[in-house]
């Protein structure tokens, strides 16, 4: 006999509102329907009524977890339209903050995954580790979340104490290598819950246009930082972790390895950090025209489109976030999974509803 289980919009495991309907036959999920839109705040519409500088504060609040990504992409789009390039030091600072944000986002996700697995010790370990990243972000930007680091043509604050950041990042890398990776890859509980669960094949990932760690865990080696380097990523030496199996375990491993890569990238960027100007330029109006920018966010590719008619307000800003394209793949992963695995499978793509709905 088949029956339908509605879950949400408020769900105990994830923070944000969304609704899921699972059609089940006994223990097996046969189909899943996802309903989103609870967080819709009409940000794109609001952006048309504010000027270019005010919009930075608005786009910072598209998503609280990857706030820097959104201001960065928006500023890059504005800079593309203006035809300016930020000073080198500013580009390095942007990369350092972006990678720190990726670290905090991935560790947050690892903690949430551990929580869903029922592995409370690991949850606490992840969150203790995450506090180190938060401290570093706070020491750089003055805030733990919504850092307000990006300005058009530069950054708002200089990086004054690279030593502390270097030490903190080193500490995080050691902890990730010695604690998180061994536990996530060898612990029998984690393996039993994650291996072979929620498989997304490479063909499916390509056909459904998955991005970011979700795609890379299914064998699609695609990372904008490498494929189309922006800022100073072409000066850094890093690899893109890819796994072939496409299950939840693969997504965990990809993110864990990415944490290490991020640490290495920050260490390199701090070593290379040039001196010089870092401030943005003051300007009033945009020239008429269109511009796009895309960057690799913690969850995949973020895309911004900006159109201007020469006034001080943009006439259109379009935001496409990675969770928006990753979310439909959950339907494939959930098909024929057991009901008990459903929360974990959903969480494994690291969905972010506030940026999907905007």
């Amino acid at each position: 006999m088949s029956y339908t289980i509605p879950i949400g919009p408020y769900h105990p495991a994830l923070e944000e509102p969304y609704k899921l309907e699972l059609e089940c036959e006994g223990e097996r999920v046969r189909a899943a329907h996802l309903q989103i839109g609870f967080n819709f705040r009409a940000i794109e519409l609001l952006a048309q009524s504010r000027n270019v500088i005010q919009n930075i504060a608005l786009f910072e609040r598209v998503c609280g977890i990857c706030s820097n990504v959104h201001t960065l992409t928006y500023c890059l789009a504005v800079e593309n339209l203006l035809g300016i390039e930020p000073p080198l030091r500013a580009q390095y600072i942007r990369v350092i903050v972006a990678e720190l944000e990726r670290l905090h986002s991935h560790i947050l996700w690892a903690g949430a995954a551990a929580h869903i697995l029922g592995f409370q010790t690991l949850f606490m370990t992840c969150f203790r580790l995450r506090e180190i990243v938060m401290d570093l972000l706070e020491s750089i930007s003055g805030n733990r979340v919504n850092y307000a680091m990006n300005a058009v043509g530069g950054v708002n604050r200089d990086l004054t104490d690279p030593r502390t950041v270097q030490e903190g990042v080193h500490q995080i890398r050691r902890a990730v290598e010695e604690q998180l990776i061994p536990v996530f890859t060898t612990d029998p509980t984690v393996r039993a819950r994650c291996a072979g669960v929620g498989v997304l094949t490479k063909e499916e990932a390509l056909a459904w246009g998955a991005v970011g760690p979700t795609a890379r865990a299914s064998g699609v080696a695609q990372d904008l930082r490498q494929a189309q380097p922006y800022l100073i990523y072409d000066r850094l030496d890093f690899s893109v972790p890819v796994q072939e199996s496409g299950d939840v375990l693969a997504r965990i491993i990809v993110r864990a390895l990415e944490m290490v890569e991020s640490c290495l990238m920050i260490e390199q960027a701090l070593d290379q950090l040039p001196s010089g100007e870092w401030r943005g330029q003051l300007f009033v109006e945009l020239p008429p025209g269109e511009a796009v920018a895309r960057i690799e966010a913690p969850r995949g590719e973020v895309f911004y489109y900006l159109a201007s008619d020469g006034g001080e307000k943009p006439v259109r800003v379009k935001v496409r976030t990675p969770s928006f394209v990753n979310m439909p793949t959950v339907r494939l992963m959930l098909k024929d999974a057991t009901l008990a695995d459903a929360p974990l499978i959903q969480a494994s793509i690291d969905p972010c509803y506030s940026c999907t709905d905007r």
Binding site: P12, R41, S67, R130
Partner: protein, 159 residues
């Protein structure tokens, strides 16, 4: 008029003040407040030292922690959840969003502030507030919760 709370009421007050259960809901915020709220549960801030537990169902909760500017689509769910929470209950508004709408204030899909829909007892300002501030807000909420238990003993109604 002074009415002495009964032994039972005093017992309830003591118990509730020592182990309030929290339910958290995001009414369309950006997640920033939610992750700081989550950080409260973790070793550094450790809200469990106050006997607090995060609860998955509003029917078991004493304190509702609400973030976000209240969007059109979450409004109905918010009111259902408020009604499902047993009285006495305390509402903590986390962040600038539920207080004023924050940067989303003039959006056509935002129907907040939160006050329009449920009575708010504690505001924790900030975008997002630090976990320490959220913790302090919860401590205030516990005091209010205790007072509400007493009010009920004096013949008033639960709110």
């Amino acid at each position: 008029m002074d009415v002495k709370p009964s032994l039972f009421d005093r017992l309830v007050r003591y118990a509730r003040g020592r182990s309030p259960w929290l339910f958290h809901l995001n009414c369309g915020g950006c997640n920033g407040c939610d992750i700081e709220f989550l950080a409260c549960l973790t070793p550094r801030y450790d809200v469990e030292q106050l006997g607090i537990r995060l609860e998955g169902s509003p029917r078991h909760a004493d304190i509702l922690c609400i973030s976000g500017p209240v969007t059109r689509n979450t409004q109905a769910a918010l009111q259902t959840i408020y009604a499902q929470t047993p009285a006495p209950k305390v509402v903590v508004a986390i962040g600038s969003c539920p207080a004023s709408g924050n940067v989303f204030a003039d959006s056509p899909s935002v129907v907040g502030p939160l006050e329009n829909f449920v009575p708010v007892d504690v505001y924790v300002p900030g975008c997002p507030p630090r976990p320490d501030a959220i913790l302090e807000g919860i401590v205030h909420a516990i005091e209010i919760l205790k007072a509400k238990v007493v009010r009920s003993a004096e013949g008033g109604t639960y709110v």
